[in-house]
C-alpha cells in the first residue's frame, strides 16, 4: 500500500505529472465516449478497432518519407499525420468493400484491420534495416505509455478532444438522423456517405491521439465500453451521450490514479478495467435496459398477471355456483375450495398457494373455513374489472374478427392484463353495451363445471 501522504498527493493531483496524465486521460475518455456513442448506435462499434490497426502502415510510411526529405522522422506530428492518413484510407477501404462487394460489415472490418496491419508489419520489417537506432521507438508506439506523457501530448489530446466534442455538437442533428434511420436520412436528401466519412474521420482523430497516450487496444476500449455502458441508462440520445462522456472521463481518471498509486499496474489497462467495472454496474443496474431493473419489472408484471388470473378464476367459479344453485345472474361472495381453483388453470399447487397468499396480503381474498377462500369487497371490484376486460375482448374477437368462440379464450387471456381504459371505452362503444355499463358480459363459453378428470375449459397457457 502506498503511504498516506503519497496517496493524498496523487488523489489531490498535486504532482505535475499525475495531474497531466489524469486530466489528459479524462479528456480523452470524455471525447471517446461522445464519438463512441454515435459509433455504437450506427452499429459500427468495432470501426475504431479496425482503424486503429490501420494506422500502423501510416506511421511507418511517415517515418520513411520524413527520413527521405531529411526531417526528424520520429517527431510526433509527422507520425500522427501518417497514422491519420492511413486511418482515413482504412475507413475508405471499409466503405468501398461494403459498397462494391457483397461482403458484410464484419468481413470489411476484419479484412481492413488485418491487411493494413500486415502491410505495417512488413514496412516496419524494412524500416528496422534503415539506420536502426532512429527507428527503435516505433514498435512500442503501438502500445503507448501513459506514464511518459508530456505536456505537448496532453495539449494534443485536449485539442483533439475539443475538436471532436465541438464537431459532434454542431452535427448533432445530422448524426442523430444517421444513427437512427440512415435510409430516411438518405431519402430526405442528407449526404449520408459524407456524414459517415466525417464520423469516421472524428474516430480517426481520437484513435490517433489516443494511440500515443493509451495504446491501441485501450483506445478501442475507450471508444466502445463507455458508450455501451451508457446505453443501459437511457433510451434518449442526449442523455446517453452525457452518461457515456461521464463514464469515459471518470474511468479514465480513476484508472490513471490507481495506476499512479500502485506499482506495476499499467495505466492503460487500469483505465480499461475501470471502464469495464462501470460497464458491469451499468449492465446490472442501468435504469433503462439494465438486467436487474428489467427483471424487477418483469416480475412485477408476472405477479400482477398471476393475481388477475386468480381473481378471474374465483369470479368464474362463483358464477358457476350461482348458475347451478340458481341464485340469479349476479355471483355472490361464496367460498371456493382450493382444489376447485387448482383445476381451473394449469397451475402447480405450490405456485397457486403462493399466489393466493400474496392476494391475501393485498386484501383481495380472505380465508374461509376448511381450505376455502372468498373474495373480499376489494377483490370483487378487481375481479369484475378483469373478467369484464377478458370478456369484452372475447366478444370483440367473435363479433369483429370472426373467430370461433372456442378460439378466443387464449388470446383474451393475454390481452386482459394490458387493456387501457381508453381501449375498454372503445370496445364498449363498438359492442354497444353502454346500457350495462358496469355489468360483466356473459361468458361466450358454455358454462360447465370443471371435472376432475378432464381439462378445465379455461386456457391452459399462462400469458
Amino acid at each position: 500500500m502506498p503511504a498516506f501522504d503519497t496517496a493524498l498527493r496523487v488523489l489531490t493531483l498535486q504532482d505535475y505529472n499525475t495531474r497531466l496524465v489524469v486530466l489528459a486521460a479524462a479528456l480523452l475518455g470524455l471525447a471517446a465516449g461522445v464519438i463512441g456513442t454515435f459509433m455504437l448506435l450506427r452499429k459500427r462499434a468495432l470501426l475504431g478497432d479496425a482503424l486503429s490497426h490501420a494506422t500502423l502502415p501510416g506511421v511507418g510510411l511517415a517515418f520513411v518519407l520524413a527520413n527521405l526529405v531529411g526531417v526528424a522522422g520520429k517527431s510526433l506530428p509527422v507520425l500522427l499525420t501518417g497514422a491519420a492518413v492511413t486511418g482515413v484510407l482504412g475507413a475508405g477501404a471499409i466503405l468501398m468493400i461494403r459498397r462494391y462487394t457483397r461482403l458484410k460489415e464484419d468481413a470489411a472490418l476484419g479484412i481492413t484491420l488485418s491487411v493494413f496491419f500486415g502491410a505495417g508489419v512488413a514496412l516496419l520489417g524494412v524500416i528496422q534495416q534503415m539506420g536502426a537506432s532512429s527507428a527503435a521507438g516505433l514498435e512500442t508506439y503501438i502500445y503507448g505509455s501513459t506514464a511518459s506523457m508530456t505536456a505537448i501530448d496532453a495539449w494534443f489530446i485536449a485539442g483533439a478532444a475539443g475538436l471532436v466534442v465541438i464537431a459532434c455538437a454542431i452535427l448533432f442533428k445530422e448524426f442523430r438522423l444517421l444513427c437512427f434511420d440512415a435510409g430516411f436520412a438518405q431519402g430526405q436528401g442528407w449526404p449520408v456517405g459524407v456524414l459517415d466519412v466525417v464520423l469516421a474521420g472524428l474516430v480517426v482523430t481520437i484513435v490517433v491521439v489516443g494511440l500515443q497516450a493509451v495504446g491501441v487496444i485501450l483506445i478501442i476500449a475507450m471508444l466502445i465500453v463507455p458508450a455501451a455502458a451508457a446505453r443501459f441508462w437511457s433510451d434518449r440520445l442526449a442523455p446517453i451521450i452525457c452518461v457515456a462522456a461521464l463514464i469515459g472521463a471518470f474511468s479514465a481518471a480513476v484508472g490513471a490514479m490507481v495506476s499512479a498509486l500502485f506499482p506495476r499496474l499499467p495505466s492503460g489497462a487500469m483505465i480499461v478495467l475501470a471502464a469495464l467495472i462501470m460497464f458491469s454496474l451499468s449492465m446490472l443496474c442501468g435504469a433503462a435496459r439494465g438486467v436487474a431493473p428489467h427483471w424487477l419489472r418483469h416480475r412485477r408484471l408476472n405477479r400482477r398477471m398471476d393475481t388477475q388470473h386468480l381473481l378471474r378464476a374465483m369470479y368464474e367459479a362463483q358464477e358457476l355456483y350461482a348458475t347451478r344453485d340458481s341464485f340469479g345472474a349476479t355471483p355472490l361472495a361464496c367460498n371456493i375450495e382450493f382444489d376447485d381453483l387448482l383445476r381451473r388453470r394449469s397451475w402447480a399447487p405450490s405456485s397457486l398457494r403462493r399466489i393466493v397468499r400474496r392476494a391475501e396480503r393485498s386484501g383481495l381474498v380472505r380465508p374461509a373455513e376448511s381450505d376455502c377462500w372468498v373474495l373480499t369487497a376489494l377483490g370483487r371490484i378487481h375481479a369484475v374489472r378483469v373478467v369484464r376486460n377478458h370478456r369484452l375482448w372475447e366478444v370483440y374477437l367473435i363479433t369483429y374478427a370472426d373467430l370461433a368462440p372456442s378460439h378466443v379464450d387464449r388470446d383474451a387471456d393475454r390481452i386482459e392484463h394490458v387493456l387501457s381504459p381508453e381501449m375498454i371505452a372503445e370496445l364498449e362503444s363498438l359492442l354497444e353495451r353502454d346500457d350495462q355499463h358496469l355489468a360483466v358480459p356473459a361468458s361466450p363459453h358454455e358454462i360447465q363445471a370443471p371435472s376432475t378428470d378432464t381439462v378445465a375449459p379455461m386456457s391452459r397457457t399462462r400469458a
Binding site: 468495432l46 496491419f117 500486415g118 520489417g125 485501450l218 499496474l265 480499461v272 478495467l273
Partner: protein
C-alpha cells in the same frame, strides 16, 4: 528484384512456405463459416483475448512450455465467445459492441497479469503479436527419421482436425450458418454448433500465433474465405477455393517478403505481414474480376442489360 529469390534456400524457405500454407489452410476452414455467419471479427476478438489465458497458464505452470499455454489460450478464447454471447443476450448489446467490451477487457486483464509477473517472466507480447514464421524451421522434431519443424507438425494436425470437423458436421454447419431457425426445427443444435465453431477458431488461432501472430491470423481467417465468397455461390466450392487462395497467399507472401524489399535495396521483411498483404491483394482481384459478383462483371452485365433494354424499346 528477382535475384532475391535466387537465394531461395530449399530447406529454410521451403519450410517457411509450407508452414505458411498449412497455417493459411487451417485458418480458411473455420474462417469460411465465420464469414458466412457474419462473425468475422470474432477471430480478432479471440486472438486478442487469449492474452490473460497465456499469462495465467504461465503463472500457474511456471514454465513457458507450449501445452499449458495452449490450453490456457484456448480456454480464454472460448470464454470470449461465451462472455460475448452473455453480454449480447442479457444486456441486449449489439454484437460488435459486446465483442469489443469483452476482448478489450480480457486483454487489459492480461496486461495487468503480465505486469504483475514481470520479474518472473519475459512473456514477450511482441511474439504473440507478430509471430516468427522465419524462425519456425529452426525448431524441429524428428518424425520418421526426418527433422520436421514442430510448428509444421502442429499446424498439420490442426488442419486435419478442421478438415475432419468440417466433413463430419458439414450438414449441421451448413444449415446452422444459413438458417439457424430452420436448423433448430430440424433438430440441429445451433447453439452447440456455434460454440464448437468458436472452440475450433480459438484452437486454430492459438496454434497459428507462433507462425503469424495474433493480428495476422485474422487476415488468414477472413481474407481467403471472403475472396472465395466473392467467387462462388456454392459452399463446397467456397471451402475449396478458400484453401487454394490461402495457400497461394502464403507462397506469394513469402516470395514478396524476399523480393519486394530487395527491389529497394533492403533485405527481406516480415513474411507474416506480406502474407496478409498478399491475401488482401488476392481479395481485391476477386472483388474486381469475380465471375458473377465482381465489380467489372457487374458493370458489363449492367451495360449489356441497358443496351438490350434500349434495343428492345
Amino acid at each position: 528484384m528477382w535475384h532475391a529469390l535466387a537465394g531461395w534456400d530449399a530447406y529454410l524457405d521451403g519450410w517457411i512456405v509450407v508452414v505458411g500454407m498449412l497455417c493459411a489452410m487451417a485458418c480458411a476452414l473455420p474462417g469460411c463459416f465465420l464469414v458466412l455467419r457474419r462473425m468475422s471479427m470474432m477471430g480478432d476478438a479471440i486472438s486478442h483475448a487469449v492474452l490473460p489465458g497465456l499469462a495465467v497458464a504461465f503463472i500457474v505452470s511456471g514454465k513457458l512450455t507450449s501445452a499449458p499455454m495452449f490450453i490456457g489460450a484456448v480456454v480464454a478464447g472460448v470464454l470470449t465467445a461465451l462472455f460475448t454471447e452473455w453480454v449480447r443476450g442479457y444486456g441486449k448489446v449489439d454484437e460488435g459492441a459486446s465483442m469489443g467490451v469483452v476482448f478489450t477487457g480480457l486483454f487489459a486483464l492480461g496486461l495487468v497479469f503480465i505486469a504483475q509477473a514481470a520479474d518472473q517472466v519475459h512473456l514477450d507480447a511482441n511474439c504473440v503479436l507478430y509471430g516468427a514464421i522465419e524462425f519456425t524451421p529452426l525448431d524441429t522434431v524428428s518424425l520418421a527419421g526426418q527433422a520436421v519443424p514442430r510448428v509444421a507438425l502442429t499446424l498439420a494436425s490442426i488442419l486435419l482436425l478442421n478438415l475432419v470437423f468440417v466433413v463430419l458436421f458439414y450438414k449441421e454447419l451448413k444449415i446452422s450458418s444459413f438458417d439457424p431457425a430452420l436448423a433448430t426445427t430440424m433438430g440441429v443444435n445451433a447453439r452447440a454448433m456455434h460454440y464448437l465453431l468458436m472452440t475450433l477458431t480459438a484452437v486454430t488461432a492459438v496454434a497459428s500465433f507462433e507462425a503469424v501472430g495474433s493480428i495476422l491470423v485474422v487476415a488468414l481467417l477472413i481474407a481467403p474465405p471472403a475472396a472465395a465468397y466473392l467467387l462462388t455461390d456454392r459452399l463446397p466450392v467456397m471451402l475449396g477455393l478458400s484453401l487454394v487462395i490461402g495457400a497461394s497467399a502464403a507462397v506469394l507472401g513469402h516470395a514478396g517478403a524476399l523480393a519486394l524489399p530487395a527491389a529497394f535495396g533492403y533485405g527481406s521483411t516480415s513474411t507474416a505481414g506480406m502474407i496478409a498483404v498478399a491475401a488482401g491483394v488476392l481479395l481485391i482481384l476477386a472483388a474486381l474480376f469475380g465471375p458473377r459478383h465482381g465489380v467489372i462483371s457487374s458493370i458489363v452485365h449492367r451495360r449489356r442489360t441497358r443496351s438490350s433494354v434500349n434495343a428492345g424499346s
